[in-house]
């Protein structure tokens, strides 16, 4: 594909668990445990996984909304983890985030105009008249009537608020947008509207998306490449078509087989996962997935599977990749 916009090297975020009388550190929750990948300019990278697999923490760590424990995040070649606070503030113009919950992510005391003026004001861009003009134009772009600008967030529906959230992220002209489950809180009919809007905006403004989601059909639709995460680690990374057609990791296969098919006559082999996701405070030895994997053996128990390339654009961390028939009809 094209040039690398973002490079993540061995990113880790371990949250300390404190306890006891002296508040000593008793252990760590390995929310993100060694993620390395490259994001290309203009692409959409989907990130999927169960709740608690660290995908949101991963997204926030890239923006340093959560300070990563170790690793490097290179944006256009510069490691932003070494930036000072002031440098980082400037850099935030380039990378923005849209949150999952459109109800909690807008300041209830700001009108929409104030919400959208804020980024421009903070970064000292344009004069007030231009700012306002820009806000109105952007509202129109995201499909909202600019005459609503003086209303407060509570006067809007969830879908409208998410459009406001998108406009807020977009107003600084970022190159990278992290979409943290941007449609998970919305009705299905609204979801598709927002997805279409995101696709249009990507086209128009040459945006690069990291799309975090647990809804596989949405991810399949919007992503160029998809990363499957499990317990803070990378399980499988491939182009969207490849991953959905030929999933190799048993975990990916299980995820895909859990997607409902809107046809009752199709009988599928289902690889239903047993048990719960293990605690990231005390992850299993070897391959973190071996406790729930039906193909696991001694090797999986002992050795951490290396991150390796099966073919170009298809990486996997598994000792026993399984070739399975495509389980999601396209």
């Amino acid at each position: 594909m094209s040039e690398v916009l973002l490079e993540v090297v061995d990113l880790k975020k371990h949250f300390p668990i404190r306890g006891g009388f002296f508040h000593t550190v008793k252990g760590h929750v390995r929310a993100v445990d060694g993620i390395s990948l490259e994001v290309y300019a203009g692409e959409t990278l989907g990130v999927v996984g169960e709740s608690g697999c660290g995908k949101s923490t991963f997204g926030r760590s890239i923006l340093r909304l959560i300070e990563p424990t170790a690793g490097a995040v290179r944006f256009e070649g510069q490691n932003i983890l070494q930036f000072t606070e002031a440098q980082m503030r400037v850099m935030r113009r380039e990378m923005q985030i849209v949150f999952q919950d459109p109800y909690a992510s807008l300041n209830p005391r700001y009108t929409i105009m104030q919400t959208l003026l804020e980024p421009l004001e903070v970064h000292g861009l344009h004069d007030l008249a231009t700012r306002k003009q820009r806000v109105r134009a952007l509202l129109q772009k995201v499909g909202l009537d600019p005459s609503y600008a003086n209303r407060f967030p509570h006067e809007f529906s969830g879908g409208q608020r998410q459009r406001i959230g998108i406009a807020r992220a977009l107003i600084l002209n970022p190159k990278l947008m992290i979409l943290d489950e941007p449609v998970a809180a919305l009705d299905v009919s609204i979801q598709s509207q927002i997805i279409n809007l995101l696709e249009d905006l990507q086209q128009e403004f040459h945006l690069t998306y990291i799309f975090i989601a647990h809804d596989l059909s949405v991810v399949k639709h919007i992503s160029n490449r998809v990363l499957v995460m499990y317990l803070g680690k990378m399980a499988e990374l491939a182009t969207s078509d490849e991953l959905f057609a030929h999933p190799l990791h048993p975990y990916t296969q299980a995820l895909l087989s859990a997607v409902p098919v809107p046809n009752p006559k199709i009988k599928r082999e289902q690889a239903i996962l047993q048990g719960d996701i293990p605690s990231p405070a005390n992850p299993p030895t070897g391959c973190v997935f071996h406790t729930r994997c039906s193909f696991a053996d001694d090797v999986c128990n002992r050795e951490v599977p290396p991150w390796r390339s099966i073919q170009s654009d298809h990486m996997i961390a598994c000792h026993h990749p399984q070739v399975a028939s495509p389980s999601v009809p396209s």
Partner: protein, 296 residues
């Protein structure tokens, strides 16, 4: 390759019908209860500050021929045990009570809010230290602190205000800290951080407007508390120097004569304190409703 030109300023926008919203003052005025509160408070202020100009009778002259007199034409609200004209006292007493009550509440609210916001926002060790200081001060009965400060400093009206505020801010700071702790973890604050908004601006523009309602309600109670605390000090002879009357002091003096049926020594100052409290509460509610257009 990535070109970021965004000629968005040129998109034509139909802004002919941008809807106007009722502004802060309009929303404030909308409620009848708020108006009632303002009228009541205004009446008290006029009574205390303009009243003495119209009703020209000394509040501090003793009429030894007419002690403990019940209300009459000469003394509309009677006299107390040393022959002070109660109505005149009530007017003059309102001045110091209202001044001290309001000023102490405002000082306590400002300092308590600042302290609580810093503590809640900082977290960690600073938060622990700041809150332990509050705990320690709260654990000492406030009357001791008030007595101590009043003995150290010669009471005048400024000292009185600061002394009363010195204990009143503690509760406010705790309240504000708790509110800040919950608000600062909300998603819109994280969003502000992601946009590059500085911490100070987050505190002033994001946190403060979202906690101000709680602060205002707490502050309205502080006014009456301060008036009554001043009464307590007067009762112990540590209030403002004796000839200057105040409502709280009059009320606690009057209590001594309760069993002589001297109702005019108790009800008038009591009613004044009550009306002050109610009117301030109503105004506080109005302010809060005007600021909090609606929760989420």
């Amino acid at each position: 390759m990535i070109q970021q030109s965004l000629p968005i300023e040129e998109v034509p926008v139909d802004s002919s019908h941008i809807d106007e919203r009722p502004n802060f003052m309009r929303r404030f005025w909308q409620s009848g209860m708020t108006k009632l509160g303002i009228v009541l408070l205004l009446m008290l202020v006029l009574f205390s500050f303009v009243g003495p100009l119209l009703y020209r009778h000394s509040a501090i002259t003793s009429n030894l021929l007419a002690t403990d007199a019940s209300p009459s034409a000469q003394f509309p609200l009677g006299t107390d045990s040393v022959g002070h004209n109660v109505l005149a006292q009530l007017m003059v007493g309102g001045q110091s009570s209202l001044e001290v009550g309001f000023a102490a509440a405002i000082v306590a609210m400002l300092f308590g809010t600042l302290y609580g916001m810093i503590s809640g926002m900082a977290g960690g060790w600073l938060d622990v230290v700041m809150m332990r200081i509050v705990d320690i001060l709260l654990s000492i009965p406030s009357i001791f602190i008030l007595l101590f400060l009043n003995v150290v400093f010669q009471p005048n009206i400024i000292i009185m205000i600061l002394v009363l505020a010195s204990t009143a801010w503690l509760g406010v700071s705790r309240l504000v800290r708790a509110e800040v702790m919950t608000t600062k973890n909300q998603l819109f604050v994280e969003a502000a951080h992601a946009l590059g908004v500085r911490v100070i601006r987050v505190m002033v523009r994001y946190l403060l407007p979202n906690i101000i309602g709680t602060v205002l309600v707490a502050a309205t109670f502080q006014v009456a508390d301060a008036i009554l605390a001043m009464a307590g000090l007067s009762f112990l002879g540590l209030g403002l120097p004796p000839p200057t009357p105040n409502w709280g002091g009059m009320l606690s003096d009057g209590m001594n004569y309760m069993f002589q049926n001297s109702w005019w020594l108790i009800y008038p100052p009591g009613l004044c304190i009550l009306v002050a409290q109610v009117s301030i509460n109503l105004i506080g509610d109005g302010l809060r409703n005007a600021i909090e257009t609606r929760e989420r």
